[in-house]
Symmetry: C2
Subunit: 124 residues, 2 copies
């Protein structure tokens, strides 16, 4: 999340857009949510989906999303530990956003993270 953006969100009609984004930016959140759309996952299962995310970061992002009520965390009192993450009802309501992002990305983003037509290969 890019800092606290506003303390209140009644300023202008655009603010709820920003507020919504505020919950899903952060370097890994959108990806985590995306993967959780397909079902419950354990901590290390998520890690394996995102090879270069350190456990510290993953914990961070998961905790923040849990606080925001987007995901739920279920701990099994076992050894070795087992913790399952899944979308909450609220989290599931984000599906349209995630899908819109995915669709747009698939259509408009090249393999290098820039919109097509602005492909760095052109100048590199």
């Amino acid at each position: 999340m890019v800092k606290a953006r506003h303390s209140r969100f009644d300023c202008t009609p655009g603010c709820s857009v920003e507020a919504a984004i505020g919950l899903i930016d952060g370097k890994w959140k959108s990806i985590i949510l995306w993967h959780l759309l397909s079902g419950t996952l354990r901590f290390n299962e998520i890690r394996r989906h995102m090879q270069n995310c350190t456990p510290r970061m993953l914990t961070n992002q998961l905790r923040e999303m849990e606080e925001d009520g987007l995901i739920t965390r279920k701990v099994y009192a076992q050894v070795p530990p087992k913790v399952e993450y899944s979308l909450s009802d609220l989290g599931r309501t984000m599906e349209p956003i995630l899908r819109a992002l995915k669709t747009w990305g698939d259509e408009n983003i090249g393999l290098y993270g820039k919109p097509v037509g602005h492909d760095p290969r052109d100048t590199a």
Copy 2:
């Protein structure tokens, strides 16, 4: 934007989601885009919509989005200067995303930037 996230986006199916977000995070981008949906705006018109955005930040965000091809910048050789910003065709394709975010935000975000049901007034 939260740093360069990946250099390539063919890693996992979730990456295009992240790539798409990468283009619209940054503290003011989503709001700017939202306002531009209603039509072309001049620099200071945008500023007036976002009272606590410094000119430096605004220039920053506008330049980045211009580089990403989301908006176009039209300079009129006049004095006093006149510069108009508007959505590019690519930018306009983001409308579904922006609307999804707006809808979700309106339905789920309280006045304090947290999802409803997690309202800080409960504890404050």
